[in-house]
Structures are given as C-alpha cells and as structure tokens.
C-alpha cells in the first residue's frame, strides 16, 4: 500500500505541486537527516524518499557517498568536490561544514531509496543501476515498484534487467503460477545469485510443475555459470601470468641474456614502484585534481629512466668486475639488494606507500555469471605484452640487440669485432633494470609499495625465467602464462596455499622432463 502512495506522490510531483509546500516538507525531512542516532537518520532518509521530491535523489546519493554535510548553522549541504550546494535551492554556497556520519545500514537504505527514485530517471543507466540498488536490499514493495517502472520502460536492456529482477522477486510469491512464470523467465540467466534463489525455492517448493521447470532452469543456469567460471579462471590465470611475466621480463634480460644472477632484480621493481609513488605525489602537489590520474602515464618513462640509471651505475660500479663469475655476481647483487632496500627505508620510511589507481583503472566490466573483468588487470595484460613485444623486437632486429647478445656470449671476441663491450654491458643492464622499473609501475597498481616489494617477486621471477628456458623470451612468456593459468585452475580446488605448493611441485617435475626449461636451446651451441 505504501508503494501505491509513493506512486501517487510521484504522480503528484509530475503534476507540479505547489512549490512552496514541497519546499517546506523537503527542508524538514532534510534537517532530520542530521539526527543523533543512526536509527533516526534511517527514518529520516526513508521519510525523505517518501516525499517523492525529485531533489531527494541527489541528497540520498550524497548521503550514501558520505558527501552530505552539515554546516555550522545547521544547514544541510551537498559536497560537490570542494564546493557546497544547497540542495533546496540548488545554489552554490560557501560554508564551514562537516560530513554527516553514515554507517553501512544507513548507506544501503539511502542507496535503495535513491534507487527507487531513480527508477524514473531520464537516464537509462541510472535506471538500470536503480534496479540493481533495489535488488540489493529489496523492500516489501519492491515488486510493485519495479512493475510500475517496467510499464513505462522503453530501453531494452533496462527492461530485461527489470524483468529478471521481477522474476526473482516473484520466486517468493505465494501464487504458483507466478512462481512458474518466474522460473521460466530466469532460465536464461547466468547470475549465480539467481541460481541460489532457485535452489532456495526448490528446498520448499511443493508444486510439481514448478519444481520440474525450476530444475530444468537450474541446470541451464548451472551450465552457464560453470562455463563462465571456466572463463573467469582462464582470465585470472592470464592475469596472474601477466603479472609474473612483467616481474620476469627484466630478469630475462639481465639474467636470460647477460647471465647475471641478479638478486637485486626485485629491488629494481621496487624502485620503479617508488618512482611511481613519487610521480604521483608530484602530480598531486602541482596539478589540478582532474589531471592527477595522468601520473601513471608519466610514471612509465620516469621509472624506466630512474631504474635504468641505477642499473647502469651498478653495472659500471660492481657487476662489470665480475663477468664470468656468475656466483660471485649473485653474492654482490644480494648485497646490493640489501643496500637498496635500506636506502628506500631511509628515504621513504618502512611503511607502505599509497599509490592510487587512476579512475580509468578502477572497477571493471561486470560480465555474466558474476564474472568481472577488472580494468586494471586487462590493462596490465596488454601492457605486459607490449613491453615484451618491444623488447623482443629490440633484441631481434636492432644492432644494439645483436651487440648485446654477442657481448654476453663472448666478451673478448666481441671486443675484437669492434663492439664497445663496456658500453653495451652498461646499456644492457640498464635496459633490464629499466624494464624491471616499468614492471614496478604496473605492480604498484595491484600490490603494495613497500621496501619489501621486490622480495615478493624475486623467487617467482627466477622460477618463470628458468621454467621457460633461460635466454628465450618466448619461453618466458609461455612459462609465465602457464604457471599463472595452472595456478588459477588449481586454486579453487586446492586453496591458495596448496595450489602454490602444487605449482612448485609441477615445476620440479617438469624440469625433470626438460632439464633446460620449456623452450630450451638444443644442440652443440648450448655447450660451447
């Protein structure tokens, strides 16, 4: 019945009720939002929504987002990112204001209420979101509301969402016919929440025809959900693989090409991540807020340059004296890694640094089956392929690439051919380090930025390069992706811990079969 009133009120609104009266009621309901207890705030939010005032939607949104403020004089204002708007007049005002505190319950009530109001919004996306909001906390009148909205709906995708929503609400209807309809409607869904609703229904359903259809629908939903689960696993595997790959590419140069067992590789990644942080802070300090997100783009060359320079310094200062003594290099680079960690601790402190995802890397596409394709992971997959492709091209086709390989295979002979070995060594190590730095930029987007960052990746990186076959970029790629996918397919069954153990056992056994990695070079050339 309340819903019916609500619809009436909405209709009244559409008929343009006298403005002054509406203002009064609105202001009163608004003021009540600044109550002491959450219970009172919730009541106030519901009352505000019940007014059917078009202005209520943005107030409730602001409330849910924590942007609803109360000024020193008690006026309720909406924070619009720096400036305040008076929700009653819509005017911009200047004031000292404090946010109205919200808790999760109030937040979801406000969001659902805003959703109900937005059901009739002119914006189709907003209507669709509204359906979702209502479904997240369906009140008793939800079905009536959605039905009313459906009658007016013109957009097909919103319509579909509403029909699904209605159907799932109808599942609990006392009328078997409605339930039957609902169950039929939902057969095409691939939403796991629908699946569990039908499962719940089946536990209590007594009507045999409904049961039958429900079971069939369940099977078809189950199939699609499983399929999407498989796709999701695959994507997650690729994504994990791309992270492993990114962490390992730089090592594929310093270790794979140069043969330097570079224990400081992880620290190069870390330096890249810290450079990202520094660039972000610089952007935050110097640029207007809407440009800050570009920091990530600027961080890529910055991180490359910083880590490449550090790498070149290390090569000239330490590593070059150790060519042909790989194990000593390991020892020295281990020392370097300790020093670099401590340097960063001294400069930035031991705690995690906050690196924010730019807006365009936050969130994801909600696909069917409860599977979300997150932007940051998709971007990282493409980014890592681009880096790998670039590196492969450089190695294969540039004369620098040729010199790099010649120098590392036979340094004295390369010199006798006129190749400046010192410079090439420094540049190669710089390149590998620089790529590690770029990886740091990407990894800062999904993990933490702390002095220990590098340690988290070093074991995995070596594992990937060796598993793929030292010296083979292609092997590094396939190795990383294989390990990522294997891991992600094991994890649902074995759990994260056992999954990881199994992957390691897999590597150990695999190497028995191919003692020089996945893409091992064969023939005499390997021995010499």
């Amino acid at each position: 019945m309340r819903a019916f009133h609500l619809i009436l009120a909405l209709a009244a609104l559409l008929l343009a009720a006298p403005a002054a009266r509406a203002d009064d009621a609105f202001a009163q309901a608004l003021g009540a939002l600044n109550a002491e207890s959450y219970a009172d705030k919730i009541a106030a939010a519901e009352a505000l929504a019940a007014l059917g005032d078009g202005r209520a939607a943005q107030v409730l949104d602001a409330l849910a987002d924590g942007r609803l403020m109360v000024a020193a004089d008690g006026a309720i204002l909406i924070d619009q990112g720096g400036s305040y708007a008076d929700p009653i007049s819509g005017k911009i005002v200047t004031a000292q204001a404090e946010a109205i505190t919200v808790n999760n319950r109030l937040r979801s009530v406000a969001r659902a209420a805003a959703g109900r109001l937005a059901l009739f919004s002119p914006d189709a996306a907003a209507r669709k979101a509204a359906v979702e909001a209502i479904m997240n906390s369906p009140g008793p009148e939800a079905a009536d509301m959605v039905r009313a909205a459906l009658a007016k709906e013109t957009d097909d995708s919103v319509k579909a969402a509403m029909i699904t929503a209605l159907a799932s609400l109808d599942l609990t209807s006392p009328d078997p016919a409605r339930r039957l309809d609902a169950v039929k409607q939902l057969a095409d869904s691939s939403d796991p929440s629908v699946r569990s609703q039908i499962e719940t229904l089946l536990q209590t359903e007594t009507d045999t025809s409904v049961r039958q259809v429900a079971e069939k629908s369940l099977a078809s939903i189950q199939f699609r959900v499983t399929l999407m689960g498989f796709v999701a696993n695959l994507f997650q595997g690729l994504s994990l693989g791309s992270v492993l790959l990114l962490a390992a590419i730089g090592l594929a140069v310093t270790f794979g090409v140069m043969g330097v067992i570079n224990m400081a590789h992880g620290e190069m990644i870390m330096l890249g991540a810290y450079t990202t942080f520094a660039v972000q802070q610089l952007f935050r300090a110097l640029l207007p807020p809407d440009l800050v997100d570009l920091y990530l783009v600027a961080a890529i060359p910055a991180a490359f340059v910083v880590t490449a320079l550090v790498g070149m310094g290390l090569e000239r200062g330490v590593i070059r004296f150790l060519y042909g003594r790989p194990l000593e290099t390991m020892l020295a680079t281990w020392g370097i890694s300790l020093v670099l960690q401590q340097v960063v601790r001294q400069i930035f402190g031991a705690t995690n640094m906050e690196v924010a995802n730019p807006a365009w890397m936050t969130g994801g596409w909600e696909l069917a089956g409860g599977f979300t394709l997150t932007y940051n992971r998709v971007i990282i997959i493409f980014f890592c392929l681009a880096v790998l492709g670039g590196l492969a091209a450089l190695l294969r086709w540039s004369s620098f690439g040729l010199h790099m390989r010649a120098v590392t295979q036979n340094r004295p002979m390369a010199a006798a051919m006129g190749i400046p070995t010192g410079r090439v060594d420094a540049l190669t190590f710089g390149l590998g380090s620089g790529i590690a730095g770029i990886a740091g930029v990407a990894l800062s987007q999904i993990g933490n930025v702390s002095p220990n960052l590098g340690q988290a990746y070093i074991v995995d990186s070596f594992m990937v390069v060796v598993f793929g076959g030292v010296g083979s970029l292609w092997g590094t790629l396939v190795g990383a992706v294989t390990l990522g996918v294997v891991n992600k397919f094991l994890e649902p069954y074995a759990g994260a811990m056992l999954g990881k153990i199994l992957v390691l056992v897999f590597i150990i056994l695999f190497i028995q079969k191919r003692p020089r990695g996945l893409f091992a070079l064969k023939g005499r050339s390997v021995e010499s």
């Binding site: 004369s399 010649a406 295979q409 004295p412 006798a416 010296g471 023939g523």
Partner: protein, 236 residues
C-alpha cells in the same frame, strides 16, 4: 704498418713474451712460426689488445695503440681470426657475420659477396646457429667474420686448423690476393699469419718470424730464409 717493439707479456708470474718485436707491412704476408706454447697466440692477443702487455709498444699506422682497448683497435682497422674460432655460439651464421659491422660506417654495412664465393657453405647455413656448425665450418665462419670488418691489418691465428684440404688451398689463394690488394671489396692490407704447417706458410709468406720460448729467434724476408735453421726451431 704494424710495429711491435720489445713487448713483455705476463700471465700472472709466468713470462710469456720476452722483448718481442715484430713488423708487418701492408701488401705483405708476415708469417709467425713456432712450436706449441712458444707464445704465438700470446703475441697475437697482445696486438689485438686482448691481453695487456707489461712493457713495450704496439704501433699501428703510426699511432701508438699499446693501451687502446680491443674494440678501438678493431675500429682502427684490425681484424682478428683467433685460435679456437671463438664463434658466437648462439648467434646465427648471419648474425655472426653482422657483428663485423660494428666498426663500419652505416653505408658500408654489407657482407661482401666474395665471402660467400670463398666459403659457399656459409650461405647454405645462414640461419643455423654458429655453435651448431662443424669445427671446420666454424673456422671458415671465423675468417669470414673478420673479413666483414674490411680490415687493413688481418691477424690470422692458425686459420687452417680443421679445414678440409680444398678450402685450405682456397684460403691460401685468397690470402695472397688480399695481400696483393686484388679483391675488389677489400683495400690494401697487412696480414699476420700464425701457422704450424710449414709448407703452407713458406708458400704464402713474404716475411717470417720464428718464435721460441717467448722470444723471436729468427726473422726476415722469406726469400732469405734458411729452411733448415727454421725447421730446427720447429722440432722438439
């Protein structure tokens, strides 16, 4: 003109070259002879800059190159065929040859067709890895690779080792032609050749030097060489 004057070279405490001097003029083949372990390779490495000398001077085209790093010497026109081939094992044959572009100007970066005429097998095996080649094929590749740099001084340390007789004959002919500046792709050249095979050396050499125990014992023009004296130093 290459002038090595009075160089001393040590491996740690062992004295491998003792006051060695050697000259090699353009247009001539200078042959270094000597038994195993007398220091021939050490001398070549000293000229190339792969091994530092303790004292003495190495001069090339009038400039003192004693302390120049090896790659600068390569850029100054010295080409090197080392003993033991020293092929870049995991580069393809083509890439091995292309490492010879390093000292060249961009416009000159081509592989002279004459190289493939001399060593046809290299053309067949262009994309095979250098390390996969047979010993003799690698030796051919090593010579070819040095020629790609268009050297003005060519150092050959036992270049015929492991090569089949027919190609040895060809190599001999080519060395002659190179010294006489008769191959179009290459300019005037001084050639230093280390060789164990006496007949081959005698046939090719304009000048010769015989080493024993880190010293040059005999040297001069081949025309004036007393074969018996030389042979005496080549037997145990």
């Amino acid at each position: 003109m290459l002038m090595v004057e009075n160089i001393d070279l040590y491996y740690g405490a062992s004295h491998a070259l003792r006051g060695v001097s050697l000259q090699a003029a353009k247009g001539r083949v200078t042959c270094v002879l000597g038994r195993n372990g007398v220091g021939k390779t050490s001398l070549m490495r000293a000229i190339m800059g792969q091994q530092a000398v303790r004292s003495g001077v190495v001069q090339w085209e009038g400039a003192d190159i004693t302390t120049l790093p090896a790659y600068e010497r390569a850029r100054a026109g010295i080409g090197f065929v080392p003993q033991g081939r020293e092929i870049f094992a995991r580069l393809t044959v083509r890439e091995n040859l292309e490492t010879g572009f390093a000292p060249l100007k961009r416009a000159e970066r081509t592989i002279p067709a004459e190289i493939y005429e001399l060593f046809p097998v290299l053309a067949d095996m262009h994309s095979r890895r250098g390390g996969d080649l047979s010993g003799g094929q690698q030796q051919q590749l090593a010579i070819a690779r040095a020629l790609v740099t268009r050297p003005r001084l060519l150092i050959l340390d036992e270049p015929t080792e492991g090569i089949q007789p027919s190609i040895i004959k060809d190599i001999g002919r080519v060395i002659r032609l190179l010294a006489e500046n008769k191959i179009k792709a290459f300019g005037e050249m001084a050639i230093v050749l280390v060789e164990q095979y006496f007949d081959f050396a005698k046939e090719l050499a304009d000048d010769y030097a015989v080493m024993d125990r880190g010293e040059v014992i005999l040297a001069g023009a081949t025309a004036q060489m007393v074969e018996a004296d030389v042979r005496k130093h080549l037997t145990v």
